[in-house]
């Protein structure tokens, strides 16, 4: 039994580790949009290699159930990947986070029940933990999908004792893993194996319903990390090194994005998870009803006279499907010799990088996409900041009003531009529920309504203007 093994691992599985550098190189190539597609293909090739080695090494090639499982999964994956619209990417990524967690949980559960000669303590604890992490990732991700798809309200749902219950569940999960691991195959072991999945599911639901909509980019990144951690821990439970290595990288990637998103909102991860929001809309004072201080300027005149324009996209652009109108306006402005950039806040949209893919989809040049700091440095020299369906990320009260979900969040300082044109649906507060005084600023011209229509009208009006530049 010991020959052909390395550190207790079958030799072919240890050898499969040699394919891990392919995955690393693949991620390395994701550093530039020119090489990223190649990197993704390399990662896929590595994965194919892992699967083939496993099939051959474990003598599974002639097992029909194996092929049914692989084919059904591949089929579902293909349908989902081809049918999803770019605007739905957050839902799809959240769904995949959940599916990955579920797969790891099932694997870990099987390792627990198949433990007739009970596995040694460390893998046993790992199997219990992977069951817990996998189930909570699954349940939490489904709640995220429901919130993103608006099948559930996106605002945080909390009840009295919510935090206590969550902490108790988390403690219970750990205790169960300990108890189960300590009792070598007895009744307690079976009870723990039965209760952990239920506790994990309940915890996943409870902790995600409490997370508010504005925190979705953070939560979705965290669930991404957890799906990797679940895979790594499950890999350890069954003594397979490849999931440990690859899962560790996924966990790292998710955590890195979680940190970036938290920093972009100036929030602590713990506060996000604990749903510490203060009471959202109530805390923010309603801005004084300032009447129009100047006669409303025509936004097309503003754009026609501009030399530098910054477009600030938000999730409202996606909802209105206004990207083609943005592209048309961009082309018109370019033709007039106007310098146009896109100022993209890290948490605009519902997930990291959401705005970038929506704009790239309509062929807008990504070298014009500026990040927060770059954009803020440029806004004072910008003639017109054109806000398209963005709200929280340009809300000046983030810096002036305490106790709101966005307090302290670094924003795109559009008011530093010479003029601001806002093409939002209405004046209602954004996802975070905080009223936006930008709407009443003297510099601001409002074009309320469906952004696809208001932008098209703006483009028509601009096209009718004589070229001045």
């Amino acid at each position: 039994m010991n020959d052909g093994r390395f550190a207790g691992i079958p030799a072919f599985e240890a050898a499969a580790l040699l394919l891990v550098p392919l995955v690393v190189l693949g991620i390395h190539w994701m550093r530039s949009p020119r090489t990223a597609a190649r990197g993704n293909a390399l990662g896929a090739a590595g994965m194919l290699g892992f699967i083939l080695v496993t099939l051959a090494g474990r003598g599974l090639l002639a097992d029909p159930m194996v092929w049914v499982g692989l084919a059904v999964g591949a089929g579902v994956g293909i349908v989902l990947a081809l049918r999803v619209r770019m605007i739905q990417m957050p839902e799809l990524v959240a769904l995949f986070n959940g599916i990955g967690g579920a797969a790891s949980a099932v694997v870990a559960l099987l390792a627990l029940r198949a433990a007739v000669p009970v596995p040694p303590p460390a893998p046993r604890v790992a199997a219990f933990l992977a069951t817990g992490i996998g189930t909570l990732t699954f349940a939490g991700s489904l709640i995220a999908v429901f919130k993103l798809a608006r099948w559930l309200p996106s605002r945080p749902v909390a009840f009295r004792g919510h935090a206590t219950l969550c902490l108790a569940l988390l403690g219970g999960l750990l205790a169960l893993a300990g108890i189960g691991a300590a009792s070598a195959g007895g009744g307690a072991y079976r009870v723990a194996a039965a209760v952990i999945p239920a506790a994990g599911l309940l915890f996943g639901v409870l902790f995600m319903v409490r997370v508010g909509g504005a925190d979705m980019p953070v939560s979705i990144s965290l669930l991404n990390a957890l799906s990797g951690v679940a895979a790594a821990v499950a890999g350890f439970a069954v003594g397979n090194p490849v999931p440990v290595a690859v899962g560790a990288m996924v966990g790292t990637g998710g955590l890195m994005l979680t940190r970036i998103m938290c920093r972009a909102m100036n929030r602590e991860l713990g506060d996000v998870l604990a749903g510490r929001l203060a009471d959202a809309a109530g805390a923010a004072e309603t801005p004084a009803e300032a009447g129009p201080s100047e006669p409303a300027r025509d936004p097309a005149d503003l754009l026609a006279a501009a030399r530098r324009v910054a477009i600030v996209p938000g999730y409202g652009m996606a909802l209105a499907q206004a990207q083609p109108a943005v592209k048309r306006l961009f082309d018109l402005l370019e033709k007039r010799g106007v310098e146009v950039v896109f100022a993209i806040h890290p948490v605009a949209g519902r997930m990291p990088g959401h705005m970038h893919i929506l704009l790239a989809e309509v062929n807008l040049p990504y070298e014009r996409f500026l990040e927060l700091d770059e954009a803020n440095a440029r806004l004072p020299e910008t003639d017109v900041a054109l806000v398209v369906g963005a709200n929280d990320v340009v809300n000046p009260s983030a810096g002036t009003v305490e106790g709101t979900p966005i307090s302290g969040m670094p924003i795109l300082r559009v008011t530093e531009a010479r003029a601001v044109v806002v093409c939002n649906l209405d004046r209602s507060p954004g996802y975070a529920g905080v009223p936006n005084p930008l709407y009443d600023a003297p510099k601001t011209t409002l074009c309320l309504g469906d952004a696809a229509q208001t932008l098209s009208a703006l483009a028509d009006a601009l096209a009718a203007q004589p070229a001045s530049a």
């Binding site: 207790g8 891990v20 690393v24 550093r31 530039s32 949009p33 990223a36 993704n40 994965m47 496993t54 099939l55 474990r58 097992d63 194996v66 499982g69 692989l70 059904v72 999964g73 994956g77 293909i78 990947a81 999803v84 799809l92 990524v93 995949f96 797969a103 790891s104 099932v106 694997v107 099987l110 029940r113 198949a114 990144s221 991404n224 799906s227 890999g235 350890f236 069954v238 397979n240 999931p243 440990v244 690859v246 899962g247 560790a248 990288m249 996924v250 790292t252 990637g253 998710g254 890195m256 970036i260 997930m351 990088g353 970038h356 893919i357 790239a360 062929n363 040049p365 990504y366 070298e367």
Partner: protein
């Protein structure tokens, strides 16, 4: 068992992963996440092993293991494919040069 091996494996790949991951620009964070979805489907290896090991047992372990294989495989195939769909948009002709 060789505990050190596992700790080094986990921490080492996490560290190497961090070095390459943090170089990925915000522009590509969504494809990065869907690529990570595909990689989290690596559980398919453990699921395949479980399916093989459950031979000769009742139908339930086999069915559950096959379900795990299908779930993980949906992640693998769907994740890589949707990532490819997105990255093709960035690689398109007329979409400018690499940003500095």
């Amino acid at each position: 068992m060789n505990a050190l091996f596992w700790v080094v494996l986990f921490a080492g790949t996490a560290a190497v992963g961090y070095r390459v991951l943090r170089a990925v620009p915000a522009l590509l964070h969504t494809p990065l996440m869907s690529g990570m979805n595909a990689l989290s489907g690596i559980t398919v290896l453990a699921a395949l092993a479980a399916l093989g090991a459950a031979r000769g047992e009742g139908p339930w372990p086999r069915t559950l293991a096959a379900l795990a294989v299908a779930l993980a495989m949906a992640n693998v195939v769907g994740g890589f494919l949707v990532t490819h769909r997105m990255l093709r948009m960035f690689g398109r002709r007329g979409n400018g040069e690499e940003p500095s």
